[in-house]
Every structure is written in structure tokens, then in C-alpha cells.
Amino acid sequence: MKKNNAKNFCKLSKVQPTATHSAAKQQLTKLTELIAQSSHVGKEIEQVVASFRQVAAPDNEPFALSSVLSENIPLIRTAFEDCDDVKFRFFTGKGREALLVYLDGMTDITLLEKNVLEILMGSKNTANTQQSIPIDPSSLEKDLITSASMTTMTNASETLDAVLTGNALLIIDGINKGFSIGSKSHVKRAIEEAKTEAVAQGAHDGFNETLSDNIVLIRRRARDTNMKIRILQLGERSKTSIALVYIANLVKPGLLEEIERRIELISTDIIIVSQTVQEFLCEHPWTPFPLLQRTERPDVVTAAIYEGRVGILVDTTPMALIAPCTYNSTMQSIDDYSAAPVTASFIRLLRHFAAFISIFMPGIYIAVVSYHPGMLPTSLAISIAELRARTPFPAFLEVLLMLVVLEIFQEAIIRTPSKIVTAASVVGGFVIGTTIVQAGISNPLLVVVMAVTAITSFSMNYSLGLAFRTLRLPIILLSSILGLYGVMLGALAILIHMCSLMSFGESYIGGLFDITLLEDWKDALVRLPIKFSKARPKQYGSQDHMRQGDKNG
């Protein structure tokens, strides 16, 4: 074969020995023209073939991309009809008609100019402006476009999604594919301190509403190739990105699969907040307790995934979810690890005590005042009776009134613009608190009780604090009917309920006083020095149990 080729393509002087130099030049020119013509013919044939290959759009696609740009334009325009923020930039590059579609405000135009327009249209420095665009999309990707992120897409829905996520869509005449050029750039909140989980000594960066930023915050904390991030899309209309973050060789076997299975079962059109995902994922949607841990802190997520748990980050919300979740894990703070173990243990115990107070204090007040004043020392009982003598309401109504005022006050403070929060606090705390006593509506002791109750509920995870706030009302009702006996029955009902809750197969109450999980007690109600906590929490069932003293750990 090689010999034949050598025969066919031998020297011109050998084929035509009598020809002159000018004749040979003419022949060469003809040959060049022929090659150019055949190239054009070839391109046209390819376009014809592509149009022949064009099939009707599949059922789940809005349309099918055509190789003829003029056919694609009305289809894309129709898809983005009345979307004035979608911009269309027509241009001719390398001898072909092309279209760039992008969302105004979500795309970095400078990047597009540099990586697409300058390259294809040719800048002052570029000489080969007339060279036609290679028809093969892969060569376009390899040789021309200089964007770091570029994806070739065949489905129309993919191309539209690309535009809506902030990427630019490049469509070139003669190619029945679209190119997503990575150029996302939108307004976002900077990395700030977590609003609901401020700490004294720990790291001060918190999640924002951008998924990629949140992933970076976690990645920065561990240079571990076993840290895997799986991004899924959720919401038929919103197509919100959800990232599952886990450590491949630590995560409890079956946990990730179960989370993915439950996510696949979610059928909703839009995800606005991570609570929506949480309600779909958790086993008991009616419980007030958070069955997935919610956090704004990247260090909390990082610590959790190194215990064998899975972090779930939802785009457009700063609240990450962690599964599974236990009561203990929500009661812990990153500050517990910044303080000395003895101090941290004391603070933890105090937090649990605060949790108890935040639920039961108003109930205990009603019970003691209404049913069991005899349980108090005589002097205290007399002084309380004197205070109560000035108020017209029974203890239950008094507490109910104060509770409603307190809840309204807390809600108002959250929704009040930050500049007038101080003023609102003064009005709510001092003015109302003082005048309510002076007006004889409530007694000073109850004001103290309610103030302590309110403060204690802020000393823990916000979601858990909300759960405890919800439980106050039934306890108040029980105490007004059955006194301390009612309070105790309520406490036991809450305890049974908490013991019955499951978070991804794990008990919500976790290893709390479980003697089969004695190892976990080292970092539960109290925190032992870190050198004693050599193992990961047993209750989360991580693949590699040892944290220290093991090469794999």
C-alpha cells in the first residue's frame, strides 16, 4: 500500500518531465483550488447530513438543537420569552455565525469577552481571523476556547439550564450542539460569621448562600482525597444543587445510599430552604426536635463528616444539614473544643441544665405556686404569696400571658431591622417588663422566671431551642392540671418521645446513658481531654473506629 502511494504521489518533474516551472505552478494552483472547493463541499455535505440526522425532540426536552443557527434562535428565544435579563449576542467568528446567550448579572462578561469573543472574532493581535471554525466540537474545545470550564451539551434542556445557572451558552452555525462556557459571577454575600452560631474562640467563618463557597470552606479544612462531594439537583423547577459531603473510608456503610435514596424520592418543584430537604428526609416530620443537625459552621460539618456522618449542603441557603443527628450532637458547640476540658464539661452540663429550665421553668412555677407551695421553705412561700396577692390572675393565666408576650417579643426582635433592635429590646425588656409588674398584671417573680426561661433557650442550638420553646405550652397545661405530677408526666412523655425518635436508623437520644456505648460518654455530657478520646463516636458506626493510634485514622 505504501509502495502504491509512493507511486501515485511522486515528484511533479517525474510525472511530467517536459513541463516548465510555470506549468507546474499552474497545476499546483488548480490543485489548491480543488482542495478548497472540496472542503466547502464537504462542509455543506456535513450540514445536509446533520439536518437529515435531525430528529424530533424527545418528550422530556423542549426542543432539539439544530445545526442551523437560524433554526435554533427562535426556539431559544421562545424558551426565554419575556425574560429580559437573558441577553443574546450575535457575532461572526472564524467565518461562521455564532450566538452567545447569557443571563445579565449572573455572568462575568469580561470572561466571555476574553475567552470567547476575542478568540473567535479575532483581536488586534490575532492574525488568523479568517480561518473557519473547526466543525468538530472537540477541536473547538481543545484548540480555541480558552475558558477553564467548558461543557458540550446535546440536550436543549441542558443548554437552557446552563444559561439559568449563570454560564454562557455558545451556539455556532453548523454544529448541532451547545457549549456551556463557565462564567458564573453573581452577587453574593461574603463569608461572614455564622449568624445563629457565634462562638467565642473558634473559627469565625460561616456558610453563605453559595454552594461552591460553602464547599470551599469545608475543603480548606482537610486536604483529604477521601473527602467526596457528590452534587445532585433537586426541585423540578428550581433545580437546586445539593452537595453530599462525606469521607469515603469513614462514612457508615449504607448511610450515603440511604440518603441518596431518600433524596431521589423527594418530589417537589422548588427548594428554597434546607428545612424543606430536612422535612423530606427525616423519619418523623411531626416532631419538634430537629432530626437533622442544622449548622452554619463549616468546622461543625467537617468534624461531623470525620465522625462518619454525611453533610448535606443546599445551594442558596447557609444552613447545612448533617445526618444522622443526635440530641448530644446538637447540644455540643465548637467552643467546647476551644476551652479546657474541665471548663468545657462544666459549660456542657450547664447547657443541659439550661435546656431543662427552658422547657420546665414556667410549668414548675405554676405547679409550685398553685399546687405545692408546701414544698417551698416557709419564708419563701410567704414572700411569693405576698407578691402574688397583688395580681388578679391565676398563675396559669399569668404565665400564659407572659409566655405569649415573650414569644411575640422574640419574634419581633428577629424581624426587627438591626438598627432598632436595641431600642426594641429596651422597650420590650425594660419598659414592658417593669410596667407589667407596676400595672399589677404580673408579679416580679414571674418576670424573673420568664426572663430566665427566655435566656436559657438561647444558650443552645437555635433549632433545638425552638423545639424546647414549643414544648413549654403542653408542660404549662399539664402543670396547671396536675401540678408537679403533671410536669413529671410531661417530662417522661418527652423523654419517651425523644427515645423513640430515629435519625437515619440511629437513636436521636444517641449514646446518652447507653451503657453499650460507654466509650462515647467521653465526649457527651462532659468532655474528657482529647488524648482520651482515641475513638470516633461508636453510635455513628464509622468504618474506621480509631481516631488516634491507627495509621488509617
Partner: protein, 384 residues
């Protein structure tokens, strides 16, 4: 990864399925909570009244005797590792007598539950709500008890451990404060003069230890570790004996045997007497009663759950929850029918006799039958 490693990982994995089982130590916690229950307040006077100063010996003897009975039950249960007594009693005794024995234990537990609930509501009414009907108090406990019994065993187990570790130390702290009024001269003569009476009272102390019969129901839920199981049950009884002995000794020392006879609730009288003037430490009986409520509830809860489980297994149902809802009104009705102390005492005596026959006649005979059956069956065909 070899099979051994995989098994080790699976065992280490604390998942839902694993938590439906319990360790021998957890069984001992369940036993302690079950046995203490209501009787920790009511039984003491029943033992002190006939045995007087030698009641502490009766308690120790009683504990040892009932511990022996419990260990016999463990031996019997170990011969049928995957079955409860509901399954193997008919195999040993035949269908009719086997079912009769299962019903026998059911009756013991029904009476125990109703007596305990009646005693509980009377005590709470007496000390906390003198104008509230006992039925209302019983209904409150019953409601929470039903809610708890509707859950799976893992939930009950977790709850019992929390009660044991939080309430146990608290109630003991309150109780030990009564040492302030300890008068050792009331204890003499410390050594029993009438051994016959002391031993008879030991058997009458069953209400203080009653409930250990549920070992027969709970054994299949325990991880099979025979040695530690014997140790755990002995430890549980040791714990109960120590506590009851302290109850008896301190009560006698504080109130004297004569004082006890005039008091329906001597334990609470002892704590009521604790007062340190000028401090907050006074009227501790209210706190003691509050700490007692979770223990009483845990005890009721496990009995109700056990009754429903027994019926479920007898009727071969898949779910015990409907049976909880059926049994609860019956138990509640029976308890409110016990409206006098005489009725409670009479039924208590009947229950004690039924339990003694069960523990010291039926169980030993069942064990002998099981051994005989095991010997008669070829070794390769298994125990059952």
C-alpha cells in the same frame, strides 16, 4: 476484608437493629427498675411489720432466694435461646398445661400491675393531691405508660437507662439525707431471735422483688453471653438487696418498729422528718416522690409492654401495639376497683402465692422437663 472483620464492624455499628437487643448489663438495669417500681415505697412496711428489727435479714434472705429463682429461669431460658416462655412452655408441658402456665404468669403480672397502679395513685393522692380522685392520678400515669408501651423495646430500654442513671442517684441522695435522723438504738436487737419468722417473711418479701419473672420474656433479647448473664442478674439482685436493706435499716432506725406500724408510708415519713433549719433542705418527701414517679412509670411500662408481647406471641400477631390498647383499659379498671387497702392487701397476698408457686414449683419442674427432653432428643437434632 475477611468475614471476621466484617462481623466485627457490623457488631460495632450502632444501628437500629442492634439496639433492639440488649447486653446482660442492660438486662440487669431493666430488672432493677422493674423490681423497684412502686414497691420501693410500699413494700418496706409490709416486711418491717412482721419481722421488726430483723427485717433486714429477711430482705437479704428474700433477695438470695428470689435471685436463685431468677437464675433457674436463666438456665431454663438458655435451653431455648431464641424462644420466650410463650413458645417453649407448651413444648415442655403440652399445649393445654403450657398455655395455662403462660396465663399463670400473665395473671401474676396483671395483678402486680393493678396493685402497683392502685398503690401508686393512693400514695400520690395522699402526699401531693389530697382532693384529687385516685382515678385521675392513675389515668395520668396510665396515659404515659400506654404511650411508652406502644414503642419498640429499644425505646423502652433507652428510657430505662436514662431513668436509672439520672433518677437513681437523685433518689438515693434524697434518701440518704434521712441519715441525719438515724437513731441506732432503734435497731436493737439487730440479730433475729425468731429465725423461722424471719425466713417466712423472706418469702413474703416477693412484692419487693416481683417482676424478675419477665426474664423468661426478655432473655431472647439479650446477646448470648451466659457467664456475664448470671453475673448481671446476681449484680442486679445485689443492688436491689443493698437498697432495700438500707431502706429497712434507716426506716427502723428513724421511726422504730412501733412507729412504722402506725404509718402507711414509713419511707416517706422518714424523709419528711429531714429538716435542716436555716437551709433550703426541708420537706424532701415531695422531691422523693417526684423522683419516684419515673421509676414507677418504668416498672409499669415494662409490665404493660411485656403483657402485650406475651399476648402477641400467644396469638401469633405481628404487632403488640393493638394489644397494648386493649389491655390498658382492663388494667386500669382493675386498679380502680382496688379502692380499699384491704382489697389491695388481699390481692397482694394472692399474687405473692401465685408468684411463689410459679417460681419455686413450675419453673423447677419445667427445668427438669427441659433437661429430660434434651437428653431424650439425639444431640444432632438440637435442644428443641
Amino acid at each position: 476484608m475477611d468475614r471476621k472483620t466484617i462481623c466485627a464492624k457490623v457488631i460495632r455499628m450502632a444501628n437500629l437493629e442492634q439496639k433492639a437487643k440488649m447486653s446482660p448489663l442492660q438486662l440487669s438495669i431493666v430488672l432493677v427498675t422493674l423490681c423497684f417500681g412502686v414497691s420501693m415505697i410500699t413494700s418496706t412496711s409490709e416486711i418491717i411489720a412482721p419481722a421488726k428489727q430483723s427485717a433486714w435479714v429477711s430482705i437479704i434472705w428474700g433477695g438470695v432466694i428470689f435471685c436463685g429463682a431468677a437464675l433457674l429461669m436463666v438456665k431454663l431460658g438458655n435451653l431455648f435461646p431464641n424462644d420466650t416462655f410463650v413458645e417453649y412452655m407448651p413444648k415442655l408441658w403440652g399445649q393445654f398445661f403450657g398455655t395455662l402456665i403462660v396465663w399463670w404468669l400473665n395473671v401474676i403480672m396483671v395483678l402486680m400491675f393493678s396493685i402497683a397502679l392502685a398503690n401508686f395513685s393512693r400514695t400520690i393522692t395522699f402526699f401531693l393531691f389530697d382532693r384529687t380522685p385516685t382515678e385521675v392520678i392513675a389515668l395520668g400515669l396510665m396515659s404515659v405508660c400506654i404511650y411508652g408501651a406502644l414503642q419498640d423495646f429499644g425505646t423502652i430500654l433507652r428510657m430505662m437507662q436514662i431513668v436509672f442513671f439520672i433518677i437513681g442517684p437523685s433518689i438515693n441522695t434524697v434518701w440518704l439525707s434521712s441519715l441525719i435522723n438515724f437513731q441506732p438504738e432503734n435497731l436493737s436487737p439487730l440479730w433475729p431471735e425468731d429465725w423461722g419468722n424471719t425466713i417466712t417473711v423472706s418469702f413474703q418479701a416477693w412484692p419487693a422483688f416481683g417482676g424478675y419473672e419477665y426474664i423468661l420474656l426478655l432473655l431472647p433479647l439479650v446477646h448470648p453471653k451466659k457467664k456475664s448473664l448470671t453475673f448481671s442478674i446476681s449484680a442486679a439482685f445485689g443492688f436491689i438487696i443493698i437498697n432495700y436493706t438500707s431502706f429497712v435499716l434507716i426506716t427502723i432506725a428513724v421511726l422504730s418498729p412501733q412507729g412504722i406500724q402506725s404509718s402507711p408510708y414509713p419511707i416517706l415519713e422518714v424523709i419528711r422528718g429531714v429538716q435542716i433549719p436555716g437551709t433550703f433542705v426541708e420537706r424532701l418527701e415531695g422531691y422523693f416522690m417526684l423522683f419516684w414517679i419515673p421509676i414507677a412509670l418504668s416498672s409499669h411500662l415494662i409490665v404493660l409492654w411485656g403483657l402485650a408481647q406475651t399476648r402477641m406471641r400467644q396469638n401469633q400477631y405481628m404487632d403488640h401495639r393493638p394489644l397494648v390498647l386493649i389491655l390498658a383499659p382492663l388494667l386500669y379498671t382493675l386498679s380502680i376497683l382496688l379502692d380499699s387497702l384491704e382489697a389491695i392487701n388481699a390481692l397482694n397476698k394472692l399474687d405473692t402465692w401465685l408468684a411463689l408457686i410459679f417460681s419455686f414449683m413450675i419453673i423447677p419442674i419445667s427445668l427438669i422437663l427441659a433437661w429430660r427432653k434434651k437428653r431424650s432428643v439425639p444431640q444432632n437434632s438440637g435442644a428443641t
